[in-house]
């Protein structure tokens, strides 16, 4: 396998792990963790394509990823704030109990 393929295989595995975590866990913090894993798998893809592409310039792959990481950090902050307020409401952070938004 070429290095690119190894990277892609690794990021697919990481994505699968994150997806499994997000789907299987009921603790919403762990679901957030799973989502972060998937996001990082996507970041890894960006980096890998940048690194192994013939005309990679630093302003493409790396900048994308740095932006994605910054956005992910903000998103996690919002997510954790949501978890805290859910906890305040129902004294519990299990996701299946947080069903107030149903139509």
């Amino acid at each position: 396998m070429s290095p690119l393929q190894i990277c892609l295989a690794f990021s697919s595995a990481l994505f699968a792990v994150g997806l499994a975590g997000a789907l299987a866990r009921s603790n919403s913090i762990l679901v957030l963790l799973g989502i972060e894993l998937m996001l990082n798998a996507a970041n890894l893809n960006l980096i890998a394509f940048w690194r192994f592409s013939p005309h990679g310039s630093p302003s493409t792959g790396v900048v994308f990823v740095v932006f994605a990481i910054a956005v992910a950090a903000a998103e996690t902050a919002v997510g954790l704030a949501l978890v805290i307020s859910i906890y305040r409401h129902q004294q519990d952070i299990r996701l299946e109990e947080a069903t107030r938004l149903k139509g």
Binding site: L19, A22, L23, S59, V62, V66, L95, T99, R100, G103
Partner: protein, 674 residues
């Protein structure tokens, strides 16, 4: 390029790997976690010793290995490893003292159910500190620096179910963060001014004459030189980490952690980081010394803060009753001495004292841990008493540590390193005050250590636990003995007659002076030590405390002063009343702004929208409604059906997303869509 320096990263990586093993191992794997941690420290110690041996062959050379982390824009962020006698000595000290503390913890933490987690955190702590030590880039150093902060948070709050421990951990983290903010700003400014955060880089590192010379010519408004400002910002970080006045308040509270952690924080790792940082970038701090008309020089501030801290810590330590708190304030005071030495320009004396202090303070803390372990976690010295006959090894080693810290002449290491600092302070031009503060601290240090020794080990046992105390097992006493040997022997590496350490650290041969050079000063400090020991003996040793509630002779003589000192000069209360109040006020202000100003504006807009809506509705009701009613009824019904898909269960959504993603992937792969 010397091959060894390129592999220097292995030294911090080994304990880091041990921490990973500890984190991944199941909860019951106590032997695995502890074994991995200790094996990693032995490995790090061996490598550090090898590095030390290699660098001592050519002490003047700074060997480094730089590499590019990532490219961004036109520049690259570069990191690197550095090897010179200062780094190598620190590495050996950290890994050796760390190793002994790890071994001691085997005994001390044996009964704790979170034994595995403890060793995982200890390894992380050691890894972070070693990363600080070996890095050739201030950025990498900062990363390790923050990891040290994180690990200390985890360890101080190790018994987090106790509210005091949780609060102490938070306090340590937040207080050091205040200093770290200054450090970070200093870093950014430095990068802006010199274009590099590497210490040494073939002439382009910011510690080398090329960049430093450029820097020293830049002057801010008010005549303040740029290197002075940057140095002071970086010094903020050192003040926070090394427990200097006014950010020392976290250090005594950090005693809430297990005793081996206190030993690690106070001796080998965390507080040493600040002193090490200033010594490491010393050329930057002294860059403004050559300027003719500087309103403020960075080293003057360092010396002043150090002198204040040395005196204040020693004074407060004399009035405390908690065994570990006395040692904590003594650390604050000794760190003040180190900063004082840095400030008066003798970074070699500071590092010498740092190394000897690491040994005797680790010894004192571990011996205190042995006492606390034996008397079932009683820490009030008034409640202990009479242990000298029951715990002979602990008593003997504690006495060695106490004499080294007090600076008992000629045999103990603390004497030589303290002499080196006082000697440097006496030669400092700008002011004599640091010297006087140092000398006053010498009396106080000898006094409070004598008091501690007398109260804990002499007199009658004043509680049931103390009368049934038994000597700790060998796994705890052997590290004590090893540290005691270090606390005695290390001093002979840096006596005036044979300045081995000084020559190696500076890389230039330091001429030997007569052993008793500066005899008057030395005689004075010996006299002061004797006075302190004598006063302590007269007050606490001659007639030992009989019961736990008997009044302290000093507190009886000067109740107000002693109460003030016992309350730690009321600095915590002062901070709560000023900074804490300020923070509350700002929060209240933000609340009012949010509620009334922004909330009012938004409310106004909402009212406006409501009004427009009302108007609209009237038009709709009259003009358009009837025709649309049937259509909208259909849409409503469809929406109702559709809304059943909105179960409110986030997992259901996630599952649908995942399924759709798979279908999409299959379509792209096999559907011929490309």
């Amino acid at each position: 390029m010397e091959p060894l320096v390129a592999y220097l990263w292995v030294i911090p990586a080994l304990p880091l790997a041990a921490a990973a093993v500890g984190a991944a191992a199941p909860r019951g794997a106590r032997r695995l976690a502890a074994g991995a941690a200790i094996a990693a420290m032995i490995g790090a110690l061996a490598l550090s010793s090898l590095a030390l041996a290699r660098t001592l062959a050519a002490p003047a050379a700074h060997q480094y290995y730089n590499f590019s982390w990532f490219d961004l824009g036109n520049g690259a962020v570069r990191l690197g490893w550095l090897l010179d006698p200062l780094n190598a000595l620190m590495c050996v000290m950290v890994s050796l003292v760390g190793l002994l503390i790890f071994v001691f913890s085997l005994g001390y933490m044996r009964g704790d159910e979170n034994f595995k987690r403890f060793f995982c955190f200890l390894s992380l702590f050691a890894a972070a500190m070693l990363c600080v030590v070996v890095s050739n880039s201030l950025l990498l150093l900062f990363i390790g620096w923050e990891l040290v902060g994180l690990a200390s948070y985890l360890l101080i709050g190790f018994w987090f179910h106790r509210p005091a421990a949780a609060a102490a951990a938070k306090k340590a983290f937040i207080t050091t963060r205040i200093g770290d903010l200054g450090f970070l700003i200093g870093l950014v400014w430095l990068y802006d001014a010199t274009g590099s955060l590497l210490l040494y880089d073939g002439g382009n590192g910011f510690l080398e004459s090329h960049a430093l010379g450029d820097l020293a010519t830049q002057v801010l408004a008010g005549g303040l030189a740029v290197p002075t400002a940057i140095s002071l910002l970086i010094f903020c970080g050192a003040v926070g980490k090394s427990g200097q006045f006014p950010l020392h308040v976290w250090l005594p509270d950090a005693m809430e952690g297990p005793t081996p952690v206190s030993a690690l924080i106070h001796a080998a790792t965390m507080v040493a980081a600040g002193v090490f940082l200033v010594a490491r970038v010393f050329p930057l701090f002294s860059a403004d010394q050559e300027l003719a008309a500087a309103p403020l020089r960075a080293l003057t501030v360092v010396a002043g803060i150090g002198a204040i801290t040395a005196l204040m810590g020693a004074a407060i330590a004399a009035a405390q009753n908690d065994l570990k708190r006395i040692l904590a304030f003594s650390t604050v005071s000794q760190l003040g001495y180190m900063m004082l030495a840095l400030g008066v320009g003798s970074w070699v004396a500071a590092i010498f004292h740092l190394l000897t202090h690491a040994f005797f303070k680790a010894l004192l803390f571990l011996a205190a841990g042995s006492v606390i372990h034996a008397v079932h976690h009683e820490q009030d010295i008034r409640e202990i008493g009479g242990l000298s006959s029951r715990m002979r090894t602990t008593f003997a080693t504690f006495a060695v540590g106490m004499m080294a810290l007090s600076g008992v002449p000629f045999v103990f290491s603390g004497f030589w390193s303290k002499e080196a600092i006082l000697h440097a302070a006496s030669e400092w031009g700008p002011s004599r005050l640091p010297l006087y503060a140092g000398l006053a601290g010498v009396v106080l240090t000898a006094f409070y250590m004598t008091r501690l020794l007398c109260e804990v080990f002499w007199g009658p046992a004043r509680s049931p636990a103390a009368s049934h105390a038994r000597e700790s097992p060998a796994v705890m006493t052997v590290p004590l003995v090893v540290l005691a040997i270090g606390a005695v022997g290390l001093g002979f590496l840096g006596t005036p007659a044979w300045p081995w350490l000084q020559s190696r650290l500076t890389g230039a041969e330091v001429p030997a002076r007569p052993l008793l050079d500066g005899g008057a000063l030395m005689a004075l400090s010996v006299l002061l030590v004797a006075a302190g020991l004598g006063a302590g003996w007269a007050l606490y040793g001659r007639r030992p405390r009989a019961t736990a509630t008997a009044a302290d002779p000093l507190a009886a003589a000067a109740p107000r002063l002693m109460a003030f000192l016992a309350a730690r000069m009321r600095l915590d209360e002062l901070y709560a009343a000023t900074l804490g109040r300020l923070n509350d006020l700002a929060a209240a202000l933000a609340d009012v702004l949010d509620r009334w100003v922004w909330g009012g504006a938004v409310g106004l807009l909402a009212r406006l929208g409501e009004f427009v809506g009302l108007l609209n509705r009237e038009v709709d009701e009259v003009g358009l409604n009837t025709g649309f009613d049937t259509v909208s009824e259909e849409i409503r019904r469809a929406g109702q059906a559709y809304s059943r898909a909105q179960t409110g269960e986030a997992h259901g959504y996630l599952r649908t997303l995942a399924l759709a993603f798979v279908v999409l992937a299959l379509l792209v792969l096999f559907g011929g869509g490309r």
